[in-house]
Symmetry: C2
Subunit: 236 residues, 2 copies
Amino acid sequence: MIKWQPGRAPRAAFHGPQALSVSLRTKTNIAITLLGVIAQMKSPLPESALDQLFRAAHTAHGFRPEPVSDETLHELHDLLKWGPTSFNCQPARFVFVRSAAAKERLKPALSPGNVAQTMAAPVTVIVASDSRFFDLLPAQYPAYDAKPIYENNPTLARETALRNGSLQGAYLILAARALGLDCGPMSGFDAAAVDAEFFPDGRFRSNFLINIGAADPAKFFPRGPRLTFAAAAQIL
Amino acid sequence: MIKWQPGRAPRAAFHGPQALSVSLRTKTNIAITLLGVIAQMKSPLPESALDQLFRAAHTAHGFRPEPVSDETLHELHDLLKWGPTSFNCQPARFVFVRSAAAKERLKPALSPGNVAQTMAAPVTVIVASDSRFFDLLPAQYPAYDAKPIYENNPTLARETALRNGSLQGAYLILAARALGLDCGPMSGFDAAAVDAEFFPDGRFRSNFLINIGAADPAKFFPRGPRLTFAAAAQIL
């Protein structure tokens, strides 16, 4: 088994008595081939990056007042947009609610327990989905005519928008963490009220919300327990 | 506006005529406070990490033969499990289909265009969801009794499992990339056939598949166009 460590060759490649009888030229060719393979293999990110993305990341329930700039929001989108979606369909839409006036429009739709943290967050992202994402498929995936698959199957279209829009929401969470920001995702809000206020023509539907900014660590909750590998996974 | 750059103080903090009249002691206190804020602020990951996670990552359509070890699959789960879910509900289940025998069980359910790449992938993950995730909520989120919210609302439960199970699938994709692996996610398969074969008791439902391993770059497709910020996002 190859361990995905930087610059480490597959073990046992040069071991065993057979290797002793291999000519220098063959050994050199094997070494060059192995170096080529190693050069193509990507290394794991440093431990500090894995901590920042996953192990030490914490859902934010309170924020420090530092604002999030337009430039940072563009950087965020320029990362998350590369995440994969079915037929490159990209159904997610992102409304960055940042001004006090826009926050006030969002406020009545929030669950009471989410009001304070959302009003304090530098930005709250409405992650929405385009219910007519398939109209864009001819431009987004010209190699194959996938539009009819969804246009003629509203249940599949709705499920595809939710699945892929959620993937893109997760890409946003991890892209934000990669940029040094903290996230507080939330499902506790009145989706119909958000849609009526922000998407009155009915084409876009809110999926979930994400507060982003620099977290106030004093307002972290203790982390909940995570399912073990044995409880959540199996290898067949 | 603060740019989230390492070790850079908020601009204009010491600028302007007012600052000239501030005492040395006040200035020192401000500086110490600012240093504290800066120390708490996380830095963006290096450009090479942003490339590996997002900008240079490519959906894999072919793989090199290097296997993926049990240890790597455990490392992968130990990262992705930390991603946030509603009420810490963690509905996703991951079946790592690796052996030839298990691949043969999966094969008849694949869309024809996905057979070759899936049979060649070192591992294919069935990302499934637990339709009774709410039974685990008392243990996973003891602070609040959220179980009845879902148990009494099958539509909400189904939607929550799909949303959060998809988030966790995206965490897996980015955790795999963070470990230096490549991913090929797919929705092209017969979900009912996968469920009948792998989850015959009906509790778990397949959501999507992800091939993982070391990609053969010769089999990359050209990347599809991505929606611009103006097409996919707005700042209010």
